[in-house]
């Protein structure tokens, strides 16, 4: 199956009498043969060559609208972590997951999202929330939370020590264990200075943050970053997340001196 970006899709609106494509729920369908779609307009409302996910939910017939159409590919949103160079060969950029511990409330949503995303059983913690406190601080108590996951080290000790070569570092920096190869010996857990890799007892292999490598490849944020209710976790190219942090701080300082 091919992947299409939104701008690619626009060329297939049927106006030139050629192929008519629409996207729904991230999938691209060829609707040229459907007589409902005539000249690229369905019921004179939904234009072809577009992402119709929203519209289709309010349509009376829902997904049956795509009956007798052919699934031809998947849709990718604009991806900032890819850049096009030399024709169609894409190169991976390095991304960063930025964690602002001062915003963390210890709710554990990040772990729950990771558990669902990676189909982990209850137990292994891939995103640990370390609670510091409450400790006495003047006459008050204070407490903070430190969300901790894999640092995807530049020189990862886990990769160096892994006896099977399952643990590896990808071109874009993500450190992950190939579960086809992993034997669950947990050498990496011992090697890692932070004790990040843990055993997934359900399959006898390692559970560790894999940077949501598959999601990131599709241009999506990792599951933990999307879910975090306080925005403590953000994601993007290294430059974007750092700029965002600077911007946020600058606005906060400006607001302090401004009269609200």
């Amino acid at each position: 199956m091919k992947t299409y970006m939104a701008q690619d899709l626009e060329k297939f609106d049927g106006s030139d009498g050629g192929q008519v494509l629409v996207a729904v729920n991230g999938k691209v369908y060829d609707v040229s043969k459907s007589n409902r779609w005539g000249k690229g307009l369905h019921m004179n409302m939904h234009g072809a060559g577009r992402d119709l996910t929203q519209e289709i939910r309010s349509a009376p017939h829902g997904l049956d609208m795509l009956e007798r159409t052919e699934l031809v590919g998947s849709l990718i949103e604009f991806q900032e972590n890819y850049s096009e160079s030399s024709g169609s060969v894409m190169q991976k950029h390095k991304n960063a997951l930025l964690i602002d511990a001062s915003l963390c409330i210890g709710c554990g949503a990040c772990q729950a999202a990771c558990t669902l995303e990676h189909e982990l059983p209850e137990g292994p913690l891939t995103f640990r929330i370390i609670r510091l406190g409450p400790i006495e601080n003047a006459d008050n108590l204070s407490m903070s939370f430190m969300p901790t996951t894999c640092f995807h080290c530049d020189k990862p000790a886990c990769v160096a020590e892994c006896p099977t070569g399952a643990m590896q570092k990808r071109e874009d920096g993500i450190v992950f264990s190939d579960l086809e190869i992993c034997i669950g010996c947990q050498t990496c857990s011992i090697a890692c200075p932070y004790g990040i890799p843990v055993l997934n007892p359900a399959i006898g292999k390692i559970a560790k943050c894999d940077g949501c490598k598959e999601r990131v490849e599709l241009g999506m944020w990792p599951a933990c970053a999307l879910i975090c209710p306080t925005g403590a976790i953000t994601f993007g190219s290294c430059q974007t997340v750092v700029q965002d942090r600077q911007h946020r701080e600058a606005v906060r300082l400006l607001r302090m001196v401004q009269i609200r």
Binding site: I105, L116, C212, M220, P229, L254
Partner: protein, 673 residues
């Protein structure tokens, strides 16, 4: 105005799916929007809905974990019957046999003990159709005893319209949270509080113990359990003394504003402050902060509704002019459901004469206590839902042995299920169509996401089946052509029963349009208005303000109890039971398996207790074993249990040690006479 543009988010699911359903999370009252991705009818992924105005694509742990519960091995799969809790259960292949038996047993109880011997408990987990069905059934049956732990005294509930949507908190100058820990119980709403704080809003927190919410506060202190409303009274007294209130508003809005003022002038603030256990300075400092940074948004926990003087919070926002302005007002958590009387038509047709007074769980306690002391033994049968015995029925647990009939409607094989005679497997919210009210008072019609297994039925099915068997069928006419309960028609009818909600109907809610998703009750449909919600606020009318409590006359705790059982026992509140009640619990695998008791380091040290020790928690009626956990979040005179024990005051000592020794140590430590 300089603004921060949040980073663009890139949402979606990588999993293969053939359907995506948008819905609203019903694990708590925030009502976050999410998209469930399904493959062949099974949930494969859950992502926040980016366009949702309240949750903006975010969710909390419960909001993504519910799908795991649907296929939990702990689910009750078939209706069961057992002769007594000691007997082995027998399974029924279908509901009908179970309902036949229940109807017959109920009739028998009624013949001997009368209809009022039936008590019904409605857990939030069972859904609103169970609750409204129960209310209606009780009306037909003739018992006034229907408990929903979210019901509260009606006066305030009906009247207070100063609610805001949580994103409006960004406009507050100060947010005061009393007894509420939304960082643990409503994380997504708490996201807005943190965002407001980044914009300069001051966050003040008053609670009985140190909480995650408190860890983010600009100003905070801890108070004694159950003294939250006394803090409100003391604050109001200070504000009245300083004449910080709005004279024009109290004259315009309050009935008898003079005597109201006078009651505060007379109020004994010293006793009120003593009750709370904090210093004068702290309360005064808080009052100063609130006067300096207006408008103030008050956020209170549900538990306050069951304590004396609850109305003070509403009175305060009205008197200070914080209500009906953006960024101010009173936001009681878990109180977004309107009172709807679903028995009116029955009463007017003369079928029933029971009244509609709300019967709360403190009333249930009194009722059972009456039975205890031999003054009539009113309750013989209980129909309940959720794990109520470990929750709002915990104080009643010891009466359960003497009941003739316990019927359970619930999704899990829990403690309540194990003590019941009859148990009926319930569908969970993602498996049924639901009417839902959020904290913001948004009315939602949330369609089911997955099809339930054959035996998982809704609350409406339960009551309808029972009504049919007992001859009340005509009062449950909401059926589809296949003779199945029609939830849509039923909920439509429920909405039409109150003037607060009658302008809603399923067509409007189902249209799913962006405008329809944030309509709050009370709602007046009027197309010409741009902001329907503001326009739908009722015209200010005169209200009866809450007067100062006569503190001098309120005895403190029962003196005997506090003498023999010196420690206050707190536990996660009823309302947050189905939620992750505490930030510690997320990592503790299966909450509820054992008692886990948190103690202050000083208290623990004086008793020679270490983390991990097995200790006895000794109350007036009960002794349980618990694992100790030393934690500074708990103040000296208090212990905090992960689940209710059915006691409010206890003595704690190490297993194998004497209770007298512990008592004298604690008395000295807490300086009790």
């Amino acid at each position: 105005m300089i603004d921060y543009l949040p980073l663009k988010r890139f949402p979606g699911s990588r999993k293969p799916y053939d359907d995506a359903v948008n819905s609203v999370c019903q694990e708590c009252g925030v009502g976050c929007g999410f998209v469930a991705y399904l493959e062949q009818g099974r949930i494969v992924d859950i992502q926040g809905e980016e366009g949702h105005p309240i949750s903006r694509g975010r969710l909390c742990a419960r909001g993504v974990s519910f799908s795991g519960l649907l296929n939990s091995y702990e689910r009750l799969e078939k209706p069961i019957y057992r002769k007594s809790p000691k007997h082995d259960p027998e399974e029924f292949e279908n509901w009908e046999t179970g309902l036949d038996l229940l109807a017959e047993r109920l009739k028998r109880t009624r013949d001997i003990n009368g209809p009022e011997a039936l008590l019904i408990g409605c857990d939030p987990e069972a859904g609103l159709d169970f609750y409204y069905g129960a209310k209606r059934f009780a009306e037909l049956w003739g018992t006034p005893y229907v408990i929903n732990p979210l019901d509260e005294p009606p006066r305030i509930h009906e009247r207070s319209f100063s609610n805001s949507l949580c994103y409006e908190w960004l406009n507050s100058a100060c947010i005061l949270l009393v007894g509420a820990d939304p960082a643990s119980t409503h994380p997504v709403a708490f996201g807005w509080i943190l965002e407001a704080q980044r914009r300069g809003t001051k966050i003040a927190v008053v609670d009985t113990r140190f909480t995650a919410t408190m860890s983010k506060a600009d100003f905070a202190f801890t108070i004694r359990p159950e003294s939250e409303n006394a803090v409100g009274m003391a604050l109001m007294k200070i504000l009245v003394n300083q004449e910080s209130y709005r004279t024009d508003l109290i004259q315009e809005r309050f009935l008898d504003s003079d005597s109201w003022l006078e009651s505060f002038e007379r109020m004994d603030i010293a006793t009120a402050i003593e009750l709370t256990g904090v210093s004068n300075q702290k309360i005064e400092e808080l009052a100063r902060l609130m006067v300096k940074t207006q408008p103030v948004q008050l956020i209170t926990s549900k538990m306050l509704a069951f304590l004396k003087g609850y109305g003070i919070w509403e009175t305060m926002v009205e008197a200070m002019g914080w209500s009906r302005v953006t960024g101010g007002g009173w936001y009681p958590l878990d109180s977004g459901r309107p009172l709807i009387d679903v028995g009116k038509d029955i009463r007017s047709s003369g079928k029933s004469d029971s009244s509609t007074t709300i019967f709360g769980y403190s009333d249930a306690k009194n009722l059972m206590a009456k039975a205890d002391s031999g003054h009539g033994a009113p309750i013989k049968a209980v129909i309940c839902s959720g794990n109520c015995i470990d929750d709002y029925f915990a104080p009643l647990e010891r009466y359960f042995d003497s009941l003739e009939l316990v019927a359970y409607f619930g999704a899990f094989q829990n403690q309540t299920c194990s003590i019941s005679h009859l148990a009926f497997p319930a569908a969970l919210w993602p498996e049924r169509d639901n009417l839902y009210f959020t904290n913001d008072r948004v009315v939602c019609w949330a369609k089911k996401i997955v099809s339930p297994k054959h035996n998982f039925r809704s609350g409406l099915y339960f009551w309808m089946g029972l009504a049919d068997r007992l001859g009340f069928g005509e009062h449950f006419p909401w059926k589809t052509d296949q003779n199945q309960p029609d939830h849509r028609a039923f909920c439509n009818w429920v909405l039409s029963q109150s003037p607060l909600t009658s302008a809603f109907n399923m067509d409007l809610l189902e249209s799913g349009s962006a405008d329809a998703r944030l309509i709050t009750w009370p709602y007046v449909a009027d197309d010409s208005q741009e902001d329907q919600r503001l326009k739908s606020l009722p015209v200010p009318r005169q209200m009866e303000p809450t007067f100062a409590l006569p503190f001098g006359e309120i005895p403190d705790k029962d003196p005997d109890d506090s003498y023999s059982f010196p420690l206050d026992l707190e536990f996660p509140s009823v309302i947050s039971r189905s939620l992750v009640p505490d930030f510690e619990q997320y990592s503790s695998q299966r909450p509820g398996a054992t008692y886990n008791l948190q103690l202050n380091p000083e208290t623990a040290e004086s008793l020679g207790i270490n983390t991990g020790d097995i200790i006895y928690v000794h109350g007036a009626r009960k002794i349980v074993e618990a694992v100790a956990w030393i934690n500074r979040a708990t103040p000296r005179g208090m212990v905090y249990s992960n689940r209710p024990i059915g006691e409010n005051r206890v003595l704690v000592y190490r297993k194998g040690e004497s209770s007298e020794a512990a008592l004298s140590i604690l008395k000295e430590l807490l300086a009790l006479k």
